[in-house]
Symmetry: D2
Subunit: 434 residues, 4 copies
């Protein structure tokens, strides 16, 4: 907003502004683009702007965002005028005018940038550049809200194409999955081959306007009953017949584009993949996840709070810390302590909430999709990363096709978290160990 | 808007309302969809709504639109309240509140309907149902504006896929072109074969979310110099080598989906096709159209105005009318009269304007894309339809790759229409024929 | 064979030879090709020969074949010499020499012609040109035997690609089926659409070296129980769910390339299609044909033999002839006569044999594939063609997946024709109608 | 041949025969297959035989080959009888009989095995098993000749499909190239990526009946002028525009299937690739190879013959040997010695022949295709393998599109090897270094 509101720190702008006739040049192009009537030259303008943008260094990009934010923000004077007129006479014309001044011109600017061939792609990367700047330049949150609003339309799940990924997929696509697997990292193409063999595969969403990258993907393994260890699944190399299996484990889900964070597509992906597997592989009847518990170890070690201290002696607590500080020799943890940690993990997942939702984002994601907490496994992920984040514990969520809509609804409307008998038992066990 | 504004005629609603618990049921689903937090059940709700919608008859569809329009329109009381608060204190929070109340909930409702698999397709057909109702229920224009706003995002040219269409294209796709060619109609598949042979082809845009239909297509023929007759082009069957040709004639462009009218994609299509041909067929250097002049005959016959009466005697005028009323025996028109009609056609194309743009929509389209008027041909389209609408005259616009941006700009900024020397000569000829 | 054997009528050759330096030129190229050691120039030579061949008129083609046949035939003197040497000393070297002289050079010539890009295609058309000449120039049968020998290798079913054909198939492919359906003719593309809708489809074999044509195709309809009328199947337009059906009717099978006649692929095609349908559509359990009885009417009318005269009075026989000569008003045939005709048809199919196989080629084909005669239908094909060739009777053969290998074996080893109880009853009914 | 000729060592057969009822079982199946009239049961029989074959161990496979060879070999008594009859009366019928007995039944047996789905693939692997046995069981050469004869028909270049291979090719295909590059070995998928970037690519032939493997492939790099070092080409990572390049370097060509050795396809592959590049990349005008000289170092070091001793002193010769025995420190070779080695390499390539063709197989291959020797490079391949086989020397052959047919012809008809002026100079330099 231009008039009254000091939206951004002038210094941050000016410091980069001094160098930048280029920024001014881009700004002029943007103003021309927004004001332009013709659509054909719109393409040329949009193309120029996005080309210029990509040549900017990080600092200049910040200046660019601040400029855009300021110059195309809703104008307070205009809004005030239109609001007054509407209050006097609430007719349609006055409403439309107010509507126009309230929206400002940032969204229209981005919409028109998207006319460039390959525009969507650059805009996604643009948001990837924008996000880390918001911490220091919080006024840019407004700009991000505009992009989120547009991206929700543009990356509608109906526009996405689901592809099954296996060892016959193009190498150039496979390397994207290697680059973007953040939980159970993949070293190289030989390593990814192991995840695409012996009845393991990936499913990925692609967008027609993003040529070079998958949007999001999930890693899948078919199993007889529930698979309890990520390492076992990944390294499995016995040749089996698919018909021996009855279950599908989702053991990793990752986004590929930073610029699409908060454009939630994971829930759609899982639902589509379940639909597809039900049709393609009728013998697969059960759908589970083997999910990490990021943040659990940190929570356990940093919060010597009521939960923990009521269950565990300070001596035992220290023994855990020592394990944690000494290369995670998890075998040194006694069985008694193990069962307390499992109980604490159940508490962490189910009772520790922020804004009425589980503080653990993975739990929040799967429960929000309609899954329930089915089990908690010790030694589920014995990689360094797994031990570090959750003592190697993994959680097994189940997607029950018959009940997932019901669970989803009660989660959102009543905040109810559904858990299995097994997890109830873990949660209710009496286990003071001192 | 709910409070003061009598947006719709209550009678029209009530009459169908009486029958309709189904409408009420859909309305409830819509309200649930808009208010819902969870996205998973959003898909189910959206799917149900669109399924129900498709079962409605025409009358109930009208009721559905009126209900939607009314119930999710911006609320005047809310807007007024938020406007007053903003006028007192123009901070961001108050702006956001005002923004939400001003937008109302119709767009968000449609956005959420689009979460259903196949949703975009149904929404396009929904708009196809809506458009003819607006004449009698003008309040539905508001609803249409919301759809236009959304469709401009969703049918961004960057999301479209260009396909070359030839005789090796699926028969199921070819029949769509037959159904949608409105200018130079195609009888059947044998007839379309003639348009896809001997260096003729189509180019069409497809959208990833619209499986069943092309969006828009253009018919193309390669020629040596300018092709002057649509019939000659269509019926051409001499086998030539592509290398003998230097020009590309666009001789027909058609939309396939009523529900996408006013979502202008024709300009993008032509530009993309030109780009593609330049790369694929380097010997093709010139790009022309052979375009109809719909409305010219009507204008000529109905407007015995200054232009016409200054140029032509009443006797001659009658002779034209007689030809027109007697099965278009165009050969009966004398050469003298012919040249007057050509001159009048040039006047009609270039000087007769509405809102500063040519009244002739085809002219307005190509000039708006950056083409210029290169020539006007007698006997360009000798089909009944061609004779009826323009005495068989066709117009030749040229897309000059070097200058089209310049022409486009001067057309939009200064209203300037660029014409060739040849057309200038036609326009300036002294030709009173009495 | 050159020396002694008067393989061809010298006159027929000389008459066309006089005109033909071109033939001599091609012959030289052929001799060069056969003698050549280098493979690279082999491609050029082969290409030249095939290009030249295609420019020949029908008469010159005959001369070409006669020349080839004569010049590359096994040489009697060489064979005799090598045979004598072998008889003296039967070692490997002498066997190899005899083998070379016995084979002659025609096969190697054709093998080398096939090095040209697109060579296989031209050679298939070449055989298409050759076949009709054999009647008048029987010595060319030898040449044909060589081509058959080679084509059996080249058109091995393992090299063919099965494609499902439906309304989404390329129009350019669909028109090939129209051109090649010889039994139940297809008028145009609108007509073929009827055969590719409502759970009807085609399956076709393609060969990688024949770009432009399918090799052979079968027309398929899914039905509830046995479909008894071709017209009903073709014109069926009720929309059903595939799951309502349990049977697959093969109602037409056609070759597309004359040049591949006697390279039997129909049996492989049917077996592959059955395999595919069993996997793709598990609810389809039974596989039947609805097959014509070409030649039956002719046999019935022309052979007033023991079968017929024992069963039918001369008066009745005349009444059939009259129907036959008067536009096939089949309704005029009395029920009594009908049942006699059906019985005669069963006799014709099962008892009338040539070289221990049914004289009826369709019967011989399906029985040879392992099918059995399941039923015989009056009014199975009421088209003019159907009435003319078999009074509209069609035969229903069944492919029983469990037993077809057994039936196939007993057909070939013992000449046994398996028939159903129903057909047995038709065959055994006492029905003298006089 | 059964009667007189002791084709194989009975011991070798009997030793494995003792264990083998399985072999006997397969033999029975083979006899049934060859004698069978029906084609449908032919498929089943062929499938059974190939399935059984694949379960055999190496020893039993040898027994299988010996059995086949013996049992389906031409029968001496039959041949003798038919030969005698033919000598008495050389008519066509007697020729045909002789022809049948001369051919024996092995080819027909293999032809019928090929009716099994996937049969060609198994037969290729079968020949891969057969080849190494021939050294110890030379009688199997006969069997191999039959397979070669059939494979030449089945793997006709007209049946092969050319594919361009790049980083967007399926990973499962790329790993086949890694496994089969025998000259400039590829470590893993990261390593192959380097060969498919920056205007490098592969071209491969695939056969429709061999699903799992490419048949043969060539590695290609585009360059400005001639690339003189394989390592430079492979490791090149400057990003250039293709338009800067004018030349195409073929720097490696490899077969993938042992079972297809001696079915020469490399010449067709190179010719097709050249044709394709000429069309796709009109700026590429020159086609070269960068080829190894396998055997040169061995020849040089082992043959202290006239060539060498006339050019080089024994002392120098020893200095070369020393370098060779001491980890190939090529830099220790003096410039004088270098130029002698280059001259010796030219002599080796051009003058050292076996059966009138260059003893060096790479030279023989490219010269046979119509290339000429254009240059010889020191440091062309500095890998251990390159140094070991040819002191790192590589040869540059050129394919001159205008002249290759002429060179090919004179190579084959007159044994003429075409060389450039540069190579002539190397060959003619006076360079005694002692």
């Amino acid at each position: 907003m231009q008039d009254k509101l000091p939206i951004y720190n002038n210094k941050s702008l000016n410091s980069s502004w001094d160098k930048g006739n280029r920024i001014e040049y881009i700004l002029n192009l943007c103003q021309e683009l927004v004001s332009y009537k013709g659509r054909t030259s719109g393409i040329s303008l949009a193309t120029k702007i996005l080309d210029e943008y990509q040549k900017l260094n990080q600092k200049d990009k910040a200046s660019f965002f601040l400029m855009i934010n300021q110059n195309f923000t809703p104008n307070v004077a205009d809004i005030s005028k239109d609001a007054s007129v509407f209050l006097e006479n609430s007719n349609l014309k006055n409403l439309n005018n107010l509507s126009v001044s309230v929206e400002g011109k940032r969204q229209e600017l981005f919409r028109r940038m998207n006319m460039a061939i390959g525009g969507s792609e650059v805009l996604v990367f643009m948001r990837g550049d924008l996000l880390p700047l918001i911490n220091h330049l919080p006024e840019l949150k407004e700009l991000d809200n505009d992009l989120i609003h547009l991206f929700r339309s543009w990356f509608n799940p109906g526009f996405l194409k689901l592809r099954k990924i296996n060892w016959s997929t193009e190498a150039s696509i496979l390397e994207k999955f290697i680059a973007n697997e953040k939980v159970h990292s993949i070293k190289d193409l030989s390593d990814i081959k192991k995840r695409l063999q012996n009845h393991k595969e990936f499913y990925a969403y692609f967008h027609p306007a993003i040529k070079i990258e998958p949007i999001i993907f999930v890693e899948v393994a078919y199993t007889k009953g529930i698979g309890k260890s990520v390492q076992e699944i990944i390294n499995r190399n016995t040749k089996s017949n698919l018909l021996e299996f009855d279950s599908c484990m989702f053991y990793s889900i990752n986004n590929c584009l930073v610029g699409l964070s908060r454009i939630s597509l994971g829930n759609f992906l899982i639902k589509r993949v379940v639909q597809k597997i039900v049709v393609d592989k009728p013998n697969i009847k059960k759908f589970y996840t083997l999910s990490p518990v990021p943040g659990f170890a940190k929570w356990l070690l940093e919060n010597e709070n009521e939960y923990i201290l009521g269950l565990i002696s300070e001596t035992e607590m220290k023994s855990i810390s020592i394990v944690f500080e000494n290369e995670f020799d998890i075998k040194k943890i006694s069985n008694k302590v193990k069962s307390v940690i499992l109980k604490l993990c159940a508490i962490y997942l189910i009772n520790i909430k922020v804004k009425e939702k589980p503080i653990n984002k993975v739990a929040s994601f799967h429960l929000g999709n309609g899954a329930f907490v089915n089990d908690i496994f010790w030694n589920g992920d014995t990689s360094v990363n797994g031990l570090k984040s959750s003592f190697g514990i993994m959680v097994n969520y189940e997607y029950d096709l018959q009940k997932m809509d019901e669970y989803h609804e009660s989660f959102f409307s009543k905040g109810k978290i559904t858990i299995s008998k097994k997890v109830e038992k873990i949660l209710n066990q009496e286990k003071k160990i001192y």
